[in-house]
Symmetry: C2
Subunit: 293 residues, 2 copies
Amino acid sequence: MKTRIEKSIDAAMDAAQKSPDRSAPPQLKSALTYAVKPGGARIRPTILLSVAMACGDDAPAMADAAAASLELIHCASLVHDDMPCFDDADFRRGKPTVHKAFSEELALLTGDSLIVLAFQTLTRAAAVDAVRAIKLLEILTRATGSPDGICAGQAWEGEPMIDIDAYHRAKTGALFIAATCMGAAAAGHEPEDWVEMGARIGQAFQIADDLADVLQTEETLGKPVGQDEVHGRPNAVTERGVEGAIKHLEDALESAITSIPSCPGEGALCELVRYTAEKLTPVTPTARVAIRA
Amino acid sequence: MKTRIEKSIDAAMDAAQKSPDRSAPPQLKSALTYAVKPGGARIRPTILLSVAMACGDDAPAMADAAAASLELIHCASLVHDDMPCFDDADFRRGKPTVHKAFSEELALLTGDSLIVLAFQTLTRAAAVDAVRAIKLLEILTRATGSPDGICAGQAWEGEPMIDIDAYHRAKTGALFIAATCMGAAAAGHEPEDWVEMGARIGQAFQIADDLADVLQTEETLGKPVGQDEVHGRPNAVTERGVEGAIKHLEDALESAITSIPSCPGEGALCELVRYTAEKLTPVTPTARVAIRA
């Protein structure tokens, strides 16, 4: 799975680095690679490919393009969100953020280029199946832009009156909903049936992220902690306490499992959710035991 | 033509402001409108629709979506290019830039959202004709991203060794090439035949922009002047002098006219190029006379 994801990302990245006519500006080329490789847990494309496989994965090139495009959007959002006008973060995935390693100019352009590259990757995949490519573009543009996507989610943070439901759904949920729906669509299944599963995984991820922000150290997390408090953002731990947040996380994962539509690979998908749960929640089981002790 | 363009932009914008599920964050919604309306000369969509009409315009909804998407990308690029890490411009089109009127956060997100909206607009148009929509997406993603698009063009400015040809072609040429090629593709014609015309108009536009930067005042231009010198950017006037730059501009427009492929609306297109020339070059004819006097 890991190899498949990295291969599809590399193939997509090639298109941004050089064309038949010319090469990218050298620094932009480096910054693009820096922003995307080696990458983090690749949770979103892993979910996407798992759903595609559970749905039969009858057009693997389509699923690969979908997985790469989704991860490129995620990477773009990290680059822009880390910039001084937002989180002003110095570190990400244990190394300096793009604007620190290169410059603000290059961070802005790297994010922009990655957004474009994601949609270009899906456009290219139309050679395999135009109808599915269009469906994937529909899902991913919606999950990225406004009013339902991560751009809107980020914008909610600056509003004097936050619509908490819209905020969480757009900020974190959108790309997880895209992950399950794109996995299904890439394999020719009806994406609508997979919205609920993506939404519940997204919710779990958000709570896990809130827990990590409160409970972990910058060293173990590879990025600054305590950011929700600094930026006055809603955090599940503040709202429910650690125990309450963990219970809420477990409920979300349970709902994710029960919402899996009937399909050949249903069992394998349940396993994936449990595996994701472990990945998502570095506070469990060790820290959880410590907290409960 | 003007009405048609504004209507198609408004239709596209609606999708970013509200969905069946929810409305956009109010400030983002305002910033999106602020960045796009009332707009400037709408030169790129005007060229696009003119080419589409010269090619028969047999699917007007397709051409409308193409025109709107191209202008949205142009607006996005203006919002991001005006930001403090690039031009740090306070005014654009005679009013405060988006980051000045709202905030840097909102300027960044507005640009991102407009990029996504452009591709979403073309994706929606697949309902009219999927093959043409995919072709339009191919052209516009290439013209926007890296290495051939405006992201790369902007990135060349920060390189210690600038590839001048790649820089101009990507920075200004890309969206003009997209204008002519998308116009043809929207009407079911072969876009490749229209690359040269777009490239020459783009070149003329670049020289006109260089002339304006040197010869005009902030008041008449609606944005700061003398920016090329401030940012150490190449400028045709520095390279060739005012007379030489004007001669070069006239040659580029002449080449644009001779490169028009044989099509029913060839004559009308020649008129458009001459009209564009007037729009493009506010230094002509009055200033030109003054300069020559």
